[in-house]
Each structure stands twice: as structure tokens, then as C-alpha cells.
């Protein structure tokens, strides 16, 4: 039978799902023998299949250099999925899922490999009904992007043969600086339209990151207070006790500012500071985020030394164990001046946030792991309860991104007794306590969104480039100026260099204790 119309809608979807279901498609993973495929991508796809969220006809093609058969590839992925999957793996479902997983061996730059890939994808379309819908996942070093994308274009793999869609997911880092990011974006744009380009930042796939918009715009209580009149400042922290953990060469080239601030933390800042979008479409949300990045006050020359502190971990102790200094880590330059800690004071120069600083800190080998946004409100005026004793503590709304996802609110309360004593108390909401059901992994949500063509949780080109513009000025001051600001050492297991404390304390504030 021939389809009567391509405009038909599925009448059985009514009332069953609040999100659009992706159409049948093939996911082609470049760099399929790598860690990300084994630890995240395939377990994520398996979990989606187990939850019934995948299109029935979904196939996966792994593209990589090593020699192996489909069967070997499936067996390796099976082992990895059993180890890393959120849900326990059921053989019956795994076998069904794996029967539609294939391996395609080729060098990334070899045109023959793409010619045979095109033929194989056509066969898969015929056999499994994937209708020419293709999602290419570039899980490779950025240096490989150009070769892969050029070949995809040369063999028309960037266009669906049968009126379907083709999309590409690009893993971070999206460049090394503005110039390389612009170049990278141009390379991608030469093969895929912006609407079909999905730059993945897994922080945005986390349940709590998505909840920031819900908290702000689905509750009437916060929005009237969410501005310079009621908020004193905002702190965004991403700390981890781990060192570079075998990523020495990458990290030494990148550093904390590029690795974390340019993407994850500026994304969190945008979600916190953005105006309400006109609707929930991808571009409406991303338009508002871009406006925030554009409003960040650039830091030039001396501003960098005054507003940014960089540090590098020295030897110390984590969890009672001695740990080595960054410069002693495997494959790290012993004279490295790469920062493993950054603290910044960021100003967002727009109507809502005029005069309200955002303090950002990120670091490795800190005492405790955690990512959170803390919105500190202005203190009550010192006329009643705190007239004689000075200001009582301010209200703080904390959005915990990881671990122990949740939200807490600190407020003041009278301690029971005949005397008047006021102490802070905390109202706490924990996702894990309130909801028995585990949240999907960030990659599950993001893969599903990319298959459905929903780019809301992905970074747009202008967003990425604008963020690099801000970061580049800081990097320039650190590495290309006559008098670069000092790189301060800090003991592993401490909360970073003392100068980071000075940065916030000179404004009469202090870092939150996590």
C-alpha cells in the first residue's frame, strides 16, 4: 500500500505522551569504539528502549577505525551497557536492540568508507523502515570534524534520500577559542543547517537544570523577586574532589575556564538570568539565553586581574589521603600554568541585573563535589529584629544541580524560648526523597530531543560564539599580556586560593559553604 499523505498524524498518540515521539531513524556514531559510546550513548539508547521512548524502528551504526565485526561490536556494547546502564539489562530486550546495531569500519578521512556507509544506510532504510532519517553523532576530537563533515557532504549523506531528515550532534569542546569555534561552526554549517545542528552540553540534560526554568516561570512567587531590587548576588559553584584523572593532556591544553566556565557554568548563568521566553520553542528559549551572554560585561586587561582569580592545585589531602600536585600528574607539563580553579565576578549589564554580581567558582581537588546555584536575597532592613544585633542572615535559594538534586530555601526563624534569638533554618526539597522514580540520564533526554528535532536544550551557534568572546578576553590577559595575573597555588583539599576569598570578601560577601 502507498502512503496517502505525509501529513497524517497518529490518532493513537492522543493522551498517551506529552512529548513528540521521534520518527524511525538511524543513529550513526563516529568514534563508536570510544568511552562515550560505551559509557553513555548506548546505555542511554537502551534505557530509552526499555522505557518505550524510542521509535520502534531505530538502528545504530558505529563508525570507527578499529577492525571488528557487528557481533564483536554488539558484544562489547552489551558488556558496557550491563556495567553502565541506569536500569538492569534484560537479555531479551538487549538482544532485540542489539540486532539493529551495526559496525562500520573506516578511517574518518577515507572517502571509500563513506561511500560504503551510504550504501549500508540505504540497505538499513529498506530493511528496517528508517526512511532516510539520520542522526550523526560526532563523538570524536574536533580535529576530525572537518574531514567527517566534508565526506558526509561529498556523499550526500547530509541529505535524506527520501524526504526525511538528517541532523548532527556535536560534542564539546565547541572550539578552543572564538576563532576556532567560529571556524568549527563554519565547517559544520557547510554541511548542516543550524536547525539540524545540535551542540550537546550534558549539563542542560540534567533534571535540575531543566527545573530552573520550571522553578522560575511555573511559580508565581519567585519572578517578582528575581531582579536587582530583591537579589543581592548569585553564586554558581562547580566543585570536585577529583584531579585530572587520566585526562592530563586534554586538561593541560584546556584548563578550568575553557573546560567548565565557557559552557556548563555560563549555561547555568543564562538559565538563572534570562528573561521569560515568549514560548517554549527552542529558538525562543535560546534567544533569551543569548541576550544574557551578550549582556555580560566584557573583562579587558586590568579588569581580568580585578575580577578573575586563577589557581592550580598543589599537593594536599583528599578524604584523608595524600594527593599529588597538578604539575606531578601523568602527562601534565611539570611547568604547566594551566588553571585548575577559577573564581570570577561577572556583571550582567541589563535592566534586571544591573549592579548584581554573579560569582562563579569552579575547581578540582576541592574538599567536596557539587554543582549549585545560590540566589542570595537582600537582607531585611535592620530596624526591628536585627536592630541591635546587626543584620541577620539573608534568605538564600539554592538550586542543587548535582549530586542530591533539589532545592532549598534558607530563612530566619525564632529559636523557641523566652528570649528573642533568631537563627537560619532550611526548607529542603530533595528529588531523591520526594520522587521514588529515578530521573533519566542527561544523555537519554538529549538524544531523544535530537531525534525529535527539539533543540531547546542544545547550544546555538551565536550562544557559543558569544560565550567564547567573553572567555577569550580572560585567556588573552592570562597568556598574552605583558603582566599576566598570578596563577595562585592552592593545597588540594582546600577551597582554593585565598585570593578567591578576597575577590568576594572585598564586596562584603563570602562564598557559600557547600
Amino acid at each position: 500500500m502507498t502512503p496517502k499523505s505525509t501529513e497524517l498524524t497518529n490518532p493513537f498518540r492522543e493522551g498517551l505522551s506529552s512529548r513528540p515521539m521521534p520518527q524511525p531513524c538511524t543513529v550513526v556514531i563516529f568514534g563508536a569504539t570510544g568511552d562515550l559510546t560505551h559509557r553513555k550513548l548506548i546505555p542511554a539508547l537502551y534505557n530509552l528502549a526499555a522505557d518505550g521512548d524510542l521509535p520502534s524502528a531505530l538502528t545504530v551504526v558505529g563508525f570507527a577505525r578499529r577492525d571488528k565485526t557487528d557481533e564483536q561490536f554488539r558484544a562489547e556494547l552489551g558488556d558496557a551497557t550491563r556495567k553502565f546502564s541506569r536500569q538492569s539489562v534484560q537479555d531479551e530486550l538487549w538482544n532485540s536492540f542489539a540486532s539493529r546495531v551495526f559496525y562500520h569500519r573506516s578511517e574518518f578521512g577515507d572517502p571509500e568508507g563513506y561511500k560504503s556507509l551510504a550504501k549500508r544506510l540505504e540497505e538499513i532504510d529498506t530493511q528496517f523502515g528508517t526512511r532516510g532519517n539520520r542522526l550523526f553523532y560526532l563523538s570524536v576530537a574536533p580535529s576530525e570534524f572537518e574531514g567527517i563533515l566534508k565526506n558526509l557532504k561529498d556523499f550526500n549523506l547530509n541529505q535524506s534520500p527520501s524526504g526525511g531528515w538528517t541532523r548532527v550532534i556535536v560534542e564539546k569542546p565547541f572550539g578552543y577559542d572564538l576563532a576556532t569555534a567560529t571556524e568549527l561552526n563554519s565547517v559544520v554549517a557547510a554541511t548542516f543547517a543550524e536547525k539540524d545542528t545540535f551542540r550537546i552540553d550534558h549539563f542542560l540534560g540534567k533534571e535540575t537544570a531543566q527545573n530552573i526554568m520550571v522553578l522560575r516561570f511555573a511559580n508565581g512567587i519567585f519572578e517578582p523577586l528575581w531582579n536587582h531590587r530583591c537579589i543581592d548576588h548569585v553564586q554558581i559553584t562547580a566543585s570536585e574532589p577529583l584531579g585530572v584523572e587520566g585526562r592530563g593532556p586534554y586538561y593541560d591544553h584546556s584548563g578550568a575556564l575553557r573546560d567548565m566556565v565557557q559552557n556548563h557554568l555560563l549555561q547555568l548563568l543564562c538559565l538563572t538570568a534570562m528573561e521569560p521566553p515568549t514560548d517554549l520553542s527552542a529558538d525562543s528559549v535560546r534567544d533569551e539565553k543569548v541576550k544574557v551572554v551578550r549582556s555580560i560585561r566584557p573583562l579587558h586587561g586590568a579588569d581580568v586581574a580585578a575580577n578573575v582569580v586563577r589557581g592550580q592545585y598543589a599537593a594536599g589531602a583528599i578524604n584523608g589521603k595524600n594527593v599529588i600536585a597538578y604539575r606531578e600528574e601523568d602527562r601534565v607539563n611539570p611547568q604547566s600554568d594551566t588553571e585548575t580553579f577559577v573564581a570570577l565576578k561577572v556583571n550582567v549589564d541589563n535592566w534586571r541585573w544591573a549592579g548584581i554580581p554573579f560569582y562563579i567558582r569552579v575547581g578540582k581537588r576541592l574538599p567536596k563535589g557539587g554543582t549549585e546555584i545560590a540566589v542570595q536575597f537582600r537582607a531585611a532592613p535592620p530596624v526591628l529584629f536585627n536592630k541591635d544585633t546587626g543584620e541577620v542572615g539573608a534568605n538564600v535559594l539554592v538550586i542543587r544541580i548535582q549530586p542530591d538534586e533539589g532545592i532549598s530555601m534558607r530563612m530566619q526563624a525564632k529559636i523557641p524560648g523566652t528570649a528573642l534569638r533568631i537563627e537560619p533554618v532550611k526548607m529542603d526539597f530533595h528529588y531523591g526523597t520526594s520522587f521514588g522514580k529515578a530521573s533519566p540520564e542527561a544523555y537519554e533526554r538529549l538524544l531523544l530531543d535530537a531525534m525529535s528535532g527539539d533543540a531547546t536544550l542544545f547550544a546555538r551557534r551565536d550562544e557559543v560564539e558569544q560565550a567564547w568572546k567573553f572567555i577569550d578576553e580572560i585567556e588573552h590577559a592570562w597568556h598574552n599580556s605583558d603582566k599576566p595575573p598570578t596563577l595562585y597555588p592552592y593545597a588540594s583539599g582546600s577551597w582554593g586560593p585565598k585570593e578567591a576569598d578576597d575577590l568576594i570578601e572585598r564586596d562584603g560577601r563570602s562564598w557559600r559553604r557547600l
Binding site: P3, R13, S56, A57, Q90, S96, F97, H430, T433
Partner: protein, 351 residues
């Protein structure tokens, strides 16, 4: 031997006027080691000792995924003019992180068989404030009841499969209970039994290739377990409502519809031991789509045959038919059941 009401182990007996105080003491004793959590008020109405005991067990399982204050109201059919008795109980489970016990409280009330008028007050006075009220009504709806009870309910859960007289119960729902509260969602566990089959069918027709076959659909066969004919009928009602078929009549195991183009569509119900709904087969000319539970498999198997001997086989989540799973599925889904009401309306004359 049937369990008597007095043998029930519903927790610690408490005086009704001291329930709040005893609950506070309960949590004070567990402070530090356990966290009390509650996102909903989950009230359960049931009759008889065995059902009360089973309800407590179900509540204990439900609290693993849905933190709630449970209010269990049992009617002792053998007692009249008896004073209301109450117990409190905590259900604790390790949190997902495994570090802390997350606990929910259950308050149990036992009423005599003349205690129906007391229920609204019992429910209202023990609600966890500001949280939604979900009422699971186990059994038949009473012909006469307090409207006020229904007005406070956000979600009314029931199981039409257990009703002895389906038409009169649906009539009560439509004329008395549903109009009492515009915000109340009706949640029929008999409808939930078909959830995974409906999801699987929907998933298949997400593919434009199969979607095009729908207009030619002319025969449906639904296999159901003994006692689950009403479940199969609700599934037929769903197909009819969503595809805009109109009921022509029923003759034993065969229900006839006409589609929008006026062509006849035959739905055949076949009884076979197994899951409440064993399978559904949709036939459109040479195309056949079978979605079935297989013995020993937790998944639904979809076998699709298209003209030209093209065949596809997929696995999809199969769900479970036990009460806890049905309730968990129901509590996870939000919103009103517009589609359910359409399915009932499509078949109301033969339910």
C-alpha cells in the same frame, strides 16, 4: 480461614482525637534516621478484613515510588453502630541513594457497615494540607453519597472490572460523581490495564509507513483473559473513538463498527487464559499488525507483516497487571482522561 477484623495488624492503635500527636511522636522517635516525605494524600476505601490487609500491603509498595500520606478507611460489613477505631503506621524504604530511610505515614480507620456518612469528615480532617487528594475507591460506588467528598478529590481511582453491574456504576459516575467536581480526574484501573498495549500500538503507528494503513483497517481481534471482557471492550472503545468508528451493534464475541468512510470494521473478542489483555491483532487487507504478550516475557512483541512478505519484529515495554503496578502507572500519569471518556462513550450502549 478468613481473617477477622480484630486480627488485623494495621499498626499502633490510637485514639482518633490524638492522631496528630501520635504521628508527631512517631516521627520524633525516628528523627535523624528517617525522613518523612509526602507529595500526595492517598485515601483508600475498602470493605472487609482481607481487603484492608491487602490494601495496607499495596500502600507499603506504592510508597516506594510515591511519597504520600495514606488514609485507609475500612468498612467492617459485620458490625453496626461500632465506634470508629484508628491505627497509625509508617512505611519506610531506603532512598534511591541508599543512604537514608524515606518514610510515609498511614492512618487506618475501621468503621461499621453504617459508617459511610462518616467518611468525608474522616478524610477531610486528616489530609496533609495543600497536597492533592487521590481517592482509590475499592468496590461499587454507593447509590447515595456525600457530594462534598467527591468535590475534594483530585483523582478518583476505581476498577470497573470489579463492578457487578457496569451500566449502573457508569451511570452513577456520569450523573453524580463526575459532575460534583470539575477538577476531578477519573482513573479506571481497567483502562490502565490496556496502557502498555495502547502505547505499543501508538508507537507502531508513529511510523508514517504503518500510519497510512489505518484507513484500510477492517478487522481487529482482541484476546483477553476470562473475566477481562470489559478490559477488551474498553480497548475496542479506544480504537473506535480514536479512529472515529461508530458502533453498529454487538453479537456475542463480535462487535461491529462502521468507519468514517462507511466501511464495516469487525472487532472479535476471544477469551484465553493469560494476561488480562493477551494480544491485539489489527488487519488492513494484506497488512497485519499483532501486538502480543508472550509467556515468560516481560515485553510486548510486535509482529508486523506488510504486503510483499516484508516482516518486522519489535519488543516494547509490557507492563504488569498486578494492582501495585497498575496504581504506580496511574499515579505516574497526569492530567484528565479525556481519551478514556471518549472510549467509554464509544461503547456505552454495550458495556
Amino acid at each position: 480461614m478468613a481473617q477477622s477484623i480484630t486480627e488485623l495488624t494495621q499498626g499502633m492503635p490510637v485514639e482518633i482525637g490524638k492522631i496528630d500527636r501520635e504521628l508527631k511522636r512517631l516521627w520524633a522517635e525516628g528523627a535523624g534516621a528517617a525522613t518523612r516525605a509526602s507529595l500526595i494524600n492517598f485515601a483508600v476505601y475498602c470493605e472487609g478484613a482481607a481487603t484492608m490487609q491487602e490494601s495496607t500491603e499495596v500502600i507499603s509498595e506504592i510508597t516506594r515510588e510515591h511519597a504520600c500520606r495514606a488514609i485507609l478507611i475500612g468498612i467492617d460489613p459485620d458490625t453496626t453502630h461500632a465506634p470508629v477505631q484508628a491505627w497509625i503506621l509508617a512505611h519506610c524504604h531506603l532512598s534511591r541513594a541508599g543512604a537514608k530511610q524515606v518514610c510515609c505515614e498511614q492512618i487506618t480507620f475501621l468503621l461499621g457497615n453504617d459508617g459511610l456518612p462518616l467518611i468525608p469528615n474522616i478524610v477531610f480532617s486528616h489530609l496533609d494540607s495543600d497536597l492533592p487528594l487521590i481517592l482509590w475507591w475499592r468496590g461499587e460506588f454507593p447509590a447515595e453519597s456525600e457530594d462534598q467528598l467527591w468535590t475534594w478529590v483530585d483523582r478518583l481511582v476505581f476498577d470497573s472490572q470489579t463492578w457487578s453491574h457496569v451500566p449502573s456504576q457508569f451511570a452513577l459516575l456520569r450523573t453524580t460523581i463526575e459532575p460534583a467536581s470539575p477538577r476531578m480526574a477519573l482513573c479506571d484501573l481497567n483502562w490502565t490495564r490496556s496502557l502498555y498495549l495502547r502505547q505499543a500500538v501508538a508507537q507502531i503507528f508513529d511510523s508514517p509507513e504503518y500510519l497510512a494503513e489505518l484507513a484500510a483497517l477492517n478487522a481487529v481481534e482482541i484476546v483477553h483473559a476470562p473475566g477481562a471482557r470489559s478490559t477488551a471492550l474498553l480497548l475496542s472503545g479506544w480504537l473506535a473513538a480514536q479512529l472515529r468508528w461508530t458502533l453498529q451493534g454487538a453479537d456475542g464475541a463480535v462487535v461491529n463498527f462502521k468507519d468514517a468512510a462507511g466501511a464495516v470494521v469487525t472487532v472479535t473478542l476471544r477469551e484465553e487464559a493469560g494476561r488480562a489483555l493477551g494480544s491485539v491483532r489489527l488487519t488492513a487487507g494484506e497488512t497485519s499488525i499483532l501486538v502480543a504478550h508472550h509467556e515468560g516475557s516481560g515485553f510486548l512483541h510486535a509482529d508486523i507483516r506488510l504486503p510483499g512478505n516484508r516482516e518486522s519484529h519489535y519488543l516494547m515495554p509490557g507492563g504488569k497487571d498486578d494492582t501495585v503496578s497498575l496504581l504506580n502507572d496511574e499515579l505516574m500519569s497526569g492530567g484528565r482522561h479525556k481519551v478514556y471518556l471518549k472510549a467509554v462513550a464509544a461503547l456505552v450502549d454495550i458495556l
